[in-house]
C-alpha cells in the first residue's frame, strides 16, 4: 500500500498550485466582497482545463482521472471556496450525469462546450419543499409531441446565475414519489426560464446560488437523460460522485486556513515568544492537522475507488462528512489562533470560516451522509 501521489499527480498538483497562487489567491478577498468570480478568472480556469478534468479527450475533456479532479478542487479551494464549488458543481453535477447517463449523441452535443467552459453547468434538483427529501419534488413535466413541457420552481442552484446548461429533475406525477422523477438536459436560456434571484449568503459569496421559475419551458424530447422514471437514480448516483468534489472543496478550505494559522502562530509574539511555543496553541495545530490528513486520506481513497470502478458510496459519504466537519473545525480554530485579528476580514480566516459551513449542508447534509453510511452497514 502506497500513500504517495504518483509523479503525474504531483506534476498536476504543483501546476494547479502555481496557477492558484498567482491567479486566484490575490483576488480571493475581492471575490467574496463583490459576490462575483470575475469572468476573466472563469475563462482562465477553463483554459487550464479545470472544467473538464476527468472526462475523455474525445469530448474535449482533459482525460485525467477522479483523483486529479479532487486535487484541482482542493488546490483551488485552498485560496477560494467559491471558485472551488464552481468547478465541483459544474463538473460533478452537470458534466457528470450527462457523461454517465447520456446517449452518445447527447454527450457529443453537450459535453465539449461544458468541458471547455464555454458554458457553465448546474444541477436543478432542490425545491422550496424538497431538500433532503428529493423524491418529493413538485416541478412537473408532460409530453407534448416532440417536446416535454416543464412547470415549477427550483432553488439553491449553484452556478445557476451563469444561465448555462442544467441537468433538471421533474416529475410526471407527484403521487408516484421518486418513481415519477425524470432527468432532462436543459439550456437555461430557453423561453420560460426566469431567474428569480441570486441569494445573498453567509459564505461562498462569489458562487451563484440561484432561484428559478420554470413556466411552460419546452425541452426537446431528445434531451431526456436516461429513461423516464430513472431520474431519482440519476440524482442519487450523481450526488454520490459529487460528494468527492465537496469533500475536496472542504479539505482545501481547511488546508488554506491551517496554512495561515500555522504561519501566524510562528510570527505572532506574546509574552516575548512566538505563540506556537505555547502548548495550548500546539495542541490546536495538532488536532487541526490530524483532521485534515484523515479527511485527505478518505477523500483520495473515495476518488481512487471511483477511478477503479469499484463501489465508493460509503467512502464518498464518509469523506464528505469528515472533510466538511474538519473544515468547520479547522477554520474556527484558525480564527482562535489569530485572536482578534482572525475576526477581522484582512486575515482571510474569517472568510474561510464562513465558506466552510455550507460544506456540511450541500450535496446531502451530514445527517444524510450518516444515513447513507449506516444503510451500507445494515443492508
Amino acid at each position: 500500500m502506497d500513500f504517495e501521489l504518483s509523479q503525474d499527480h504531483k506534476v498536476l498538483r504543483d501546476s494547479v498550485r502555481e496557477f492558484v497562487e498567482k491567479e486566484i489567491k490575490p483576488i480571493a478577498m475581492k471575490i467574496d466582497e463583490e459576490h462575483m468570480i470575475p469572468d476573466s478568472l472563469v475563462n482562465k480556469m477553463a483554459e487550464m482545463g479545470f472544467l473538464g478534468s476527468y472526462f475523455p479527450e474525445e469530448y474535449d475533456g482533459a482525460g485525467l482521472d477522479m483523483l486529479s479532479y479532487a486535487i484541482v478542487v482542493e488546490e483551488v479551494s485552498k485560496a477560494c471556496g467559491s471558485s472551488g464549488v464552481l468547478i465541483s458543481a459544474h463538473t460533478s453535477l452537470a458534466c457528470g450525469p450527462i457523461y454517465t447517463f447520456g446517449t452518445e449523441a447527447q454527450k457529443k452535443k453537450w459535453l465539449p462546450a461544458l468541458n471547455t467552459g464555454k458554458v457553465i453547468g448546474c444541477f436543478l434538483l432542490t425545491e422550496p419543499d424538497a431538500g433532503s427529501d428529493a423524491g418529493a419534488i413538485s416541478t412537473t413535466y408532460r409530453r407534448e409531441g416532440d417536446e416535454f413541457v416543464i412547470n415549477g420552481s427550483k432553488i439553491f442552484i449553484t452556478n445557476g446565475g451563469y444561465r448555462g446548461t442544467g441537468v433538471l429533475f421533474a416529475t410526471s406525477d407527484k403521487s408516484l414519489k421518486h418513481r415519477g422523477v425524470s432527468a432532462f438536459i436543459i439550456d437555461l436560456n430557453s423561453p420560460g426560464v426566469e431567474i428569480l434571484k441570486n441569494e445573498n449568503k453567509l459564505g461562498i459569496r462569489g458562487s451563484y446560488t440561484t432561484a428559478f421559475a420554470l413556466d411552460g419551458v419546452r425541452i426537446p424530447a431528445e434531451n431526456l437523460l436516461g429513461q423516464e422514471g430513472q431520474g431519482f437514480k440519476i440524482a442519487m448516483d450523481t450526488l454520490n460522485g459529487g460528494r468527492i468534489g465537496i469533500a475536496s472543496q472542504a479539505l482545501g478550505i481547511a488546508e488554506g486556513a491551517f496554512e495561515r494559522a500555522l504561519a501566524y502562530s510562528k510570527e505572532r509574539k506574546q509574552f516575548d515568544h512566538p505563540i506556537c511555543e505555547l502548548q495550548a496553541v500546539q495542541f490546536k495545530l495538532a488536532d487541526m492537522y490530524t483532521r485534515i490528513e484523515t479527511s485527505k486520506l478518505m477523500t483520495y481513497k473515495a476518488a481512487c475507488l471511483k477511478d477503479a470502478k469499484k463501489n465508493y458510496t460509503a467512502e464518498s459519504a464518509m469523506c464528505k462528512m469528515l472533510a466538511s466537519e474538519a473544515a468547520t473545525y479547522v477554520t474556527k480554530e484558525a480564527i482562535q489562533i489569530h485572536g482578534g485579528y482572525g475576526f477581522i476580514c484582512d486575515y482571510e480566516v474569517e472568510r474561510m470560516f464562513r465558506d466552510a459551513k455550507i460544506t456540511e449542508i450541500y450535496e446531502g447534509t451530514n445527517e444524510v451522509q450518516r444515513v447513507v453510511i449506516s444503510k451500507m452497514l445494515l443492508s
Binding site: Q7, V11, L12, D14, S15, E47, M48, G49, S53, G63
Partner: protein, 258 residues
C-alpha cells in the same frame, strides 16, 4: 530545427535547508523540489520559438538527477516539449559543472541540435557554468543571461543583461547555445489537457556510464550554514543625524543613490 532544453530540478527555495551527513550537499529529506526557475524561462522560450516557426522544431528536454527528476521533466513536456532524455544519476550532486556539462555535451554531440537553451544558473548550486561549458565542448556560439530573444532566418538576436543595469545585444548564427535570465518571458502554466498529453510523450532513460566519464575538476569540500551574525546596524540619535548617516551608508555601500 532541433532544439535542446537543459533543465534541472532544484529544492524549492522556501524549504528548510540543512547540510547532509557527508556535509557536501543538503539533507534532501526536508526538501520539496521544483523546476529551476531559470530553466522555466528556457523551456518557455523554446516553446515560443516552436510556435513562431509553426510547430516545425522538435524540442528535446534533458535533465540529470534521480527518479524524482521525472516530475520536472514532465512539467517541461506539459509546457510544450516533445520528448525527453533523463540521465538517471542519484549522485548528481557530487558532480561538478565540468562533469555535468561533459555528460550533456557527450549526449548532444551525436544529435545535431541547432539551438540549445539552458537556465542562466541553477538556484541551488548557482555556478552558472554548465551552459557555457557545453557550448565550448560542442564548439558552438554562446550568449548568456538573456532578457530578450528573437529569431529570424538562422540568426538569433539576444538581448543580454550586463552589470549595473546595462543591456547588450548579441547576434548569433546557429548552431548556438543561450542561457536564460529572469525577465526573458513569463513561463506558461501547464494546462490539464497538456499534462495528459505529456503522459504519452517519450522519456528516454540513460545512465552516466553511457556518456562521458570525465573526472571532477573541483570537489565540494564542505557546505555549512553561515555563522549567526548580530542584528545588523541600528542607527540611533536625532532623526536628522540618522538620515545623514543612512544616506552616507547608502552612497558608500550601495548603488541606489548613484
Amino acid at each position: 530545427m532541433k532544439i535542446l532544453v537543459c533543465i534541472k530540478q532544484v529544492p524549492d527555495m522556501e524549504s528548510r535547508f540543512r547540510p547532509n551527513g557527508e556535509k557536501t550537499w543538503y539533507d534532501e529529506g526536508d526538501l520539496a523540489f521544483r523546476m529551476n526557475e531559470y530553466d522555466e524561462y528556457a523551456v518557455e522560450q523554446a516553446v515560443q520559438l516552436k510556435e513562431q516557426l509553426g510547430g516545425e522544431p522538435e524540442i528535446t528536454v534533458l535533465s540529470i538527477g534521480p527518479d524524482r527528476t521525472v516530475e520536472a521533466i514532465k512539467k517541461a513536456l506539459a509546457m510544450g516539449g516533445d520528448r525527453a532524455v533523463h540521465i538517471r544519476d542519484d549522485r548528481y550532486y557530487q558532480k561538478d559543472p565540468w562533469q555535468i556539462a561533459s555528460m550533456i555535451a557527450s549526449y548532444a554531440k551525436g544529435e545535431g541540435f541547432d539551438l540549445i537553451f539552458t537556465g542562466m544558473q541553477s538556484q541551488d548550486r548557482g555556478s552558472a557554468q554548465v551552459g557555457v561549458i557545453v557550448a565550448e565542448l560542442l564548439g558552438i556560439a554562446c550568449a548568456t543571461t538573456l532578457v530578450g530573444f528573437s529569431y529570424d532566418g538562422g540568426t538569433i538576436t539576444a538581448k543580454r543583461e550586463l552589470e549595473g543595469g546595462i543591456k547588450g545585444v548579441a547576434k548569433l548564427k546557429l548552431p548556438a547555445l543561450v542561457t536564460c535570465q529572469l525577465g526573458l518571458n513569463t513561463p506558461r502554466y501547464p494546462t490539464l489537457p497538456n499534462i495528459m498529453k505529456a503522459k504519452k510523450k517519450e522519456i528516454a532513460s540513460l545512465t552516466p556510464a553511457e556518456l562521458s566519464g570525465e573526472a571532477e575538476l573541483t570537489a565540494t569540500a564542505a557546505i555549512y550554514p553561515p555563522a549567526k551574525k548580530g542584528g545588523g546596524l541600528v542607527l540611533e540619535g536625532e532623526i536628522g543625524i540618522q538620515v545623514d548617516r543612512l544616506m552616507g551608508i547608502l552612497k558608500e555601500k550601495t548603488a541606489v543613490l548613484r
